[in-house]
């Protein structure tokens, strides 16, 4: 299957080759179309399995004796409470998909006899997977809902609305669809056509599209086909009197079927559904098609959707499975599923709301000692272990599968491994049945996700029917800016917990060892399985996603696999349904089409200085959403420039850049309405959060208010995304132009009114402004005096702007160091009596392409400058750090820089790729290539972050030649290029922050006495290096003068000071020993291993591997020195 391209914000409904009309009929469809179908309606390809398939994938009936009934009992969900249709069933729905199936023979509703919808041929059946209040898994088969789309009549066309004409049109379309559609033939293609004049297009205040045909088709796949055959404008429909172009514009053709169903029935994502008693049928055990505990058939219009308010804002007890696998890689290779066995699978199952996981277990290959608090299930054969694990998966029946990088590693590896093994063994048949649908395998496909914000990523997307795969790694990458995304450092950051970072070369040795070694590995593996789940709880990920699904009304899975646009699109569609508006399906602009660039936000020129008076910050609250509301910016209020003259000037307003929108009194727009509702709901959620009785409820409300905020802010982006579903540059550009206007206006207002002439003590000055905030120097000396002024200014200034635009006073910076645009630091005060924290923007404290030394030096300097207001202290501190650096006293982890291997690096690593993509050589890429030569197994892979330090090189050597692996540097005692760190890492940031404060930063900070004491390490001997031949010469320990090696450690001039010198060297040794002991104890404590060695080699782990190594090396060196004095 061709890889599906997912371009910017995904759901790109590619149409190349389809609309061109050049497609050869009956021939092989162009590959683009394949993509098209996959992308629009993935579920289309699923058919209920035929008999043959069932045979081929017969269910596994093997019984494993070591899985005891008691053990299994713990895995199972609570016993089903639903056995017949005598009670209402409530379920929270987490996933929905659609299959093509047979219509029901009778209505499941006891009070109705007729089957809703078509009763012949193939029909779409929606499957909703949910969890009941009691924790039972429920699959609901929803029948009777049919797909449809709208076609706008050509401009100025009229239609003779008679039954006869409509029937003719239906038959005509039926024939056309039959000719064009692919896939198995159907009994009927076009099910109905009706003439609609009650709706109009959302586009424009006075839209020309006011009459439509609503065409109902048999299957969702036919919607795009319908769009295609209507677009060329060649078709004549009976009864339509066309004047001018014969073009039928498609409307609402790009709505995924499942979303269509949800919108039309007011079902929100992750919402509760009630199936009223007597309206449904429970399937008998023998008829069941899924592994769910309960299976129900129901007609779509019998389901009651619950608004997520009050009682229905609760969460069902969903099950989350977090897993981690270990593989035994060969030396020098990254594990490959074709070659290397899976040796352990660790799992943690938890129920939402419970603090502790209900099951923790580990499946191991070969024996393993028991583990406290976890089930250990050992197998002799890999196939046996895999099948036991599958049994476990089926029994515990999780709703969500999580882990760390499971999406791209663990899950594909298990599936690929089973595929490989199945060639030699029949014992592994049916392993890939992970989904809830019986006899259906988990499917993988490669996808490419590309966006401006996250760059290009290659992903493997696995479809497991009825279960949501939620990988924590991409979640962290998307939502948190961190310097390292290893599970280890992420956990240290958010959980304050560590795990050992075991290098995979060690794993193989442990596996080949004793039961105890494997026990060690299993404990490690279990922790890896547990941590993602902890992370999920801690960050309230599930709740936040559920709330986002509820607010925007899309299914949970859309949030994970699709971008931002579908969310806004869904909200617009929902609103339009109520307002009787229809959304046109626009032709997609490709990446290459000439994009309409428009001016973005403005930044006021900063007046750079170190302000030792309070600077007040005035912010616009939700600037873009409130502009869109205040000026009623919407698709439906935009007036065509040609129509402006015909309008009463009172009814409209021209935006700052010349687009005309009618006022909200004339007609309130869709977007402003959506935004008003979102913001009102957010206010309510914030209120509820304050009053929430329990922690869980508070988490829910917090998730909700966050979701509402993000959604409100994404509306502007939706209108501006030129490759989007419904771009509208006039709206986006008007929004930013109003933004610029408001900012300028605020500056003018403050500077005009807060003057000595107006009775104030000082003239106010706006020192800086960016997008939605202005920084004002009111001139008053204390924070206490500034607060009332700022509050007053914000209030008064808000009054000159229309509602709901609100200028808020949020905080005062004092002192404030303004370095440049988007670069400042200051102590932030939100209360008069004490400051909250130090706030920095655009500084190296947060940037991650610098080494930790830069971050620390900058942070500490700022602390001294801003908090202690001790500029001299800061200067002395910087000097001491620089001299430590030059004397090689710096911990190497402070100097490590990490960069990831991105596009282009393939070429350097010899993995293909194009030379053009790797024009500028980079240190981390060159290093990775060298590491591949040294040991391919431990070398970084594509996409990995590579840690490196810069070492000294020959004169004229480029920086990219000087990058080296920190561990290698430590092992070989190589010299750090401290001068490079000084001039390329520290110099610029230091100059930036000290420039507004002191004169001639270069001279006073970076040069001078403190730079004149240096240390040059002696590298250890390596094969081929000169060190193999060199001999160390004896030097006096006191004055470094050359001495005779046989005459003791000192020269005759230093001899009298022997005792003092000896003590000095001895104290250096004890110091190093003490340092190491402390680090070791801390590392043991962190990893909870007192009796075994620590295997962690992790970069960024708080057990400080590099520092330990360095201390070890120091001890060795000191011992050598002390030994020269004789023992």
């Amino acid at each position: 299957m061709a890889p599906v391209k997912r371009i910017l914000e995904q759901d790109s409904f590619q149409e190349n080759g389809i609309i061109s009309g050049k497609r050869l009929r009956g021939g092989n469809a162009p590959p683009d179309e394949e993509d098209y179908y996959l992308d629009v309606e993935d579920e289309m390809l699923d058919m209920e399995p035929t008999e043959e398939e069932v045979e081929g994938e017969s269910e596994d009936q093997t019984v494993f004796s070591d899985i005891t009934p008691e053990m299994r009992q713990r895995w199972l969900r609570p016993a089903s409470k639903v056995t017949d249709n005598s009670n209402d069933v409530n379920l929270q729905c987490f996933d929905m998909d659609m299959i093509s199936g047979q219509p029901l023979s009778q209505n499941p509703n006891e009070t109705k006899s007729r089957v809703v919808g078509s009763n012949n041929g193939q029909v779409p059946v929606i499957r909703a997977y949910g969890v009941s209040e009691h924790g039972n898994s429920v699959a609901v088969f929803i029948h009777g809902f049919t797909p449809y789309a709208y076609l706008a009549l050509p401009n100025n066309a009229t239609f003779d609305n008679t039954e006869e004409n409509l029937t003719k049109i239906r038959l005509h379309l039926n024939k056309k669809l039959e000719a064009e559609a692919r896939g198995p033939s159907l009994a009927e293609y076009c099910r109905a056509v009706s003439y609609v004049t009650s709706h109009k297009s959302i586009m424009g205040y006075d839209s020309p599209h006011k009459s439509f045909f609503k065409v109902t088709v048999a299957m969702p796949t036919l919607v795009p086909v319908l769009k295609r055959i209507m677009e060329p404008g060649m078709i004549q429909l009976s009864g339509v009197n066309v004047q001018g172009d014969n073009v039928y514009h498609p409307f609402e053709c790009n709505v995924p079927f499942v979303l269509r169903y949800m919108i039309d029935n007011d079902i929100s994502g992750a919402g509760w559904l009630t199936l009223p008693q007597k309206t449904y049928q429970v399937r008998k055990e023998v008829d069941k098609k899924t592994f769910c505990q309960v299976e129900i058939d129901i007609t779509y219009n019998d389901i009651i959707s619950r608004k997520p308010e009050g009682e229905w804002s609760k969460m069902a007890p969903i099950r989350v499975l977090s897993l981690d696998i270990e593989c035994q890689g060969r030396k020098g290779h990254f594990p490959e599923a074709e070659m290397d066995p899976v040796i352990q699978i660790a799992n943690a199952v938890s129920v939402y709301g419970d603090k502790k996981p209900i099951v923790q277990n580990v499946f191991t290959l070969k024996g393993c000692l028991p583990i406290v608090g976890a089930q250990v299930i050992s197998s002799d054969k890999e196939t046996e272990m895999l099948m036991k694990w599958r049994k476990f998966l089926e029994a515990c029946d999780p709703d969500v599968i999580t882990g760390y990088n499971v999406q791209n590693f663990d899950i594909p590896y298990l599936l690929d491994r089973a595929e490989t093994l199945s060639k030699g063994s029949s014992h592994i048949k049916g392993f890939a049945q992970w989904g809830r649908i019986r006899n259906s395998k988990a499917k993988m496909k490669d996808t490419t996700f590309q966006s401006a914000a996250f760059g290009k990523r290659n992903n493997i997307e696995t479809t497991i029917e009825g279960r949501v795969i939620f990988d924590m790694l991409p979640y962290m990458q998307r939502n948190h800016k961190l310097s390292s995304y290893t599970l280890n450092s992420v956990c240290a950051e958010f959980l304050g917990q560590q795990k050992e970072d075991v290098h995979h070369s060690i794993i193989s040795d442990l596996q080949n060892g004793s039961d105890e070694d494997r026990h060690r590995l299993a404990v490690y593996c279990l922790k890896d399985a547990l941590l993602p789940q902890r992370l999920m709880d801690k960050l309230s990920v599930v709740v936040n996603y559920v709330e986002m699904a509820r607010v925007t009304g899309v299914p949970m899975s859309f949030l994970i696999s699709r971008g931002q646009q579908i969310k806004v699109f869904s909200m617009i569609l929902r609103k339009c349904r109520n307002e009787k508006l229809l959304v046109p399906t626009l032709k997609k602009a490709g990446f290459n089409s000439d994009e309409v660039a428009y001016e973005g936000a403005t930044v006021l020129d900063p007046i750079k200085s170190y302000y030792q008076v309070p600077i007040a910050t005035l912010d616009f609250a939700s600037l873009y959403p409130s502009i869109m509301q205040a000026y009623n910016l919407c698709y439906s209020t935009l007036v065509d420039p040609r129509d402006v003259n015909g309008l009463d000037p009172k009814t409209y307003k021209k935006s700052e850049n010349g687009h005309v929108f009618v006022t909200s009194e004339t007609k309130k727009g869709i977007l402003p309405t959506i935004l008003a509702e979102l913001l009102a709901a957010r206010k309510q959620a914030k209120k509820d959060m304050k009053n929430a009785p329990s922690e869980f409820e508070r988490a829910v409300q917090n998730g909700r208010q966050l979701a509402l905020k993000v959604s409100a802010n994404s509306v502007y982006g939706f209108t501006g995304a030129t490759v989007g579903q419904l771009p509208c540059v006039p709206i986006a550009s008007s929004t930013t132009s109003y933004g610029r206007f408001l900012l300028e206006r605020t500056k003018e207002y403050v500077e005009e009114n807060y003057t000595i002439a107006n009775g104030y003590q000082h003239d106010a000055q706006v020192v800086y402004g960016d997008t939605d905030s202005v920084m004002v120097k009111f001139g008053s000396k204390t924070v206490q005096e500034t607060f009332p002024l700022a509050i007053e200014a914000a209030e008064k200034c808000s009054k000159i702007f229309p509602d709901p635009i609100l200028l808020e006073f949020e905080k005062v910076y004092f002192p404030y160091l303004l370095m440049n645009k988007k670069r400042y630091a200051g102590l932030m005060w939100t209360q008069e009596d004490k400051y909250d924290k130090m706030d920095t923007k655009g500084l190296e404290t947060v940037r991650r392409d610098n080494c930790a030394l830069v971050r620390d030096v900058i942070q500490t300097s700022l602390n001294k400058i801003l908090i202690n207001q001790d500029v001299n202290g800061a200067i002395n501190y910087v000097k001491s750090q620089i001299s430590d650096l030059l004397q090689n006293k710096m911990d190497i982890s402070q100097l490590v820089i990490t960069k990831s291997l991105n596009k282009g690096a393939e070429y350097a690593l010899g993995l293909g790729g194009k030379k053009e993509d790797y024009k500028n050589k980079q240190a981390h890429v060159e290093l990775a290539a060298r590491m591949h030569k040294r040991d391919a197994g431990s070398a970084p892979q594509m996409g990995d972050r590579v840690p490196y330090v810069i070492i000294t090189g020959a004169k004229g050597a480029k920086t990219f030649e000087k990058g080296e692996d920190p561990i290698y540097v430590l092992e070989n005692n190589l010299a750090i290029d401290s001068k490079w760190y000084l001039s390329n890492q520290l110099a610029k940031p230091l100059e930036r922050i000290f420039e507004p404060i002191i004169d001639n930063v270069q001279k006073s900070l970076l040069e001078g006495e403190h730079t004149r004491k240096i240390f040059i390490p002696t590298p250890s001997a390596r094969k081929g290096s000169l060190m193999m031949f060199a001999v160390k010469k004896a030097n006096c320990m006191g004055c470094k003068a050359n001495i005779d090696p046989n005459s003791g450690p000192l020269c005759k001039h230093c001899q009298p000071k022997q005792a003092a010198i000896y003590l000095d060297k001895l104290s250096e040794l004890t110091d190093a020993e003490l340092r190491y002991a402390k680090l070791w104890a801390k590392a043991q404590e962190l990893h909870g291993t007192v009796h075994s060695e620590i295997m962690c080699t992790g970069d960024g782990c708080a057990c400080q591997f590099y520092k330990r190594k360095k201390a070890q090396a120091d001890i060795k060196r000191c011992i050598e020195i002390v030994d020269k004095f004789g023992r």
């Binding site: 000294t952 020959a954 004491k1013 060199a1030 001999v1031 010469k1033």
Partner: protein
């Protein structure tokens, strides 16, 4: 107290020039007998050893051994101001933090004095033990400089093979190959044109041209260069400074990566 007066001041200037591309910071080790420098280059590929015996100076006094930490680039800046026929005087206090340099013109008409701040450089001193070499080549230093410079155009690794008929320098690179053969010629009229090969057995080694090029910065110190090689040990390239001392470079041969 350390005090030394060098009539031929330009020798010191040439020494600094010959090491400054390889070594950024190093100690000038002053003892009763000599001034010496031993340092690896910053990439730890080659080693420089400099010796200037007390006999080279017309006045030399060193009360106790002393290591003067200098930055070669800064030292070189000061020596830029030296006229070629100037006399140089070095002065340093024991445990002082500066080195005083005195430049005197031949006619005693100008005296310039400079003070260079010293650095405290902590590094282990290394040396390559003297061993008998299988081949020793003595050739004009200008000739060696030219060969190295010319071959650099073609590639970055130079094979030096010493055989009966002479020394062959060869390079293989992307644009092609190059060979320069220098024949033994002990009977040349002028001593400085002589090429003398003293060989026990043929030796062939590979070296990085980049480093050989750094070494030729010492050309002006001496008419001759001595190249000594044995299989699988570092080559020594020595520029003698009359009878008083030398600048020696050691470079490990390149081995083919497996």
């Amino acid at each position: 107290m350390f005090e030394a007066r060098l009539t031929n001041g330009v020798t010191m200037k040439q020494i600094i020039e010959s090491i400054k591309d390889l070594v950024k910071d190093c100690n000038l080790d002053c003892s009763e007998e000599e001034i010496s420098i031993q340092s690896m280059d910053s990439a730890h590929v080659s080693l420089v050893a400099v010796r200037l015996g007390a006999g080279a100076f017309d006045h030399y006094r060193c009360d106790r051994p002393n290591a003067l930490g200098i930055n070669t680039a800064n030292m070189s800046k000061i020596f830029k101001m030296l006229n070629n026929d100037d006399t140089v005087t070095f002065k340093a206090e024991d445990e002082g933090d500066a080195l005083t340099l005195l430049f005197e013109g031949q006619k005693n008409d100008t005296i310039a004095d400079f003070e260079l701040k010293l650095m405290d450089i902590d590094y282990e001193q290394l040396g390559i033990p003297d061993t008998p070499y299988k081949c020793s080549i003595k050739m004009p230093s200008r000739e060696f400089e030219r060969i190295v410079r010319d071959l650099q155009v073609l590639g970055d690794t130079c094979t030096i093979s010493c055989g009966k008929e002479g020394v062959r320098f060869s390079v293989t690179g992307n644009i092609g190959t190059g060979n320069i053969l220098t024949r033994a010629n002990a009977s040349a009229e002028k001593e400085k044109d002589q090429v003398i090969i003293d060989m026990e057995e043929p030796v062939e080694l590979n070296f990085a041209l980049r480093y050989l090029n750094f070494f030729t910065k010492a050309t002006s110190l001496s008419d001759h260069v001595m190249i000594s090689m044995s299989p699988e040990v570092p080559v020594v390239i020595e520029y003698p400074i009359q009878d008083y001392g030398y600048v020696k470079y050691y470079l490990a041969p390149k081995i083919e990566e497996e």
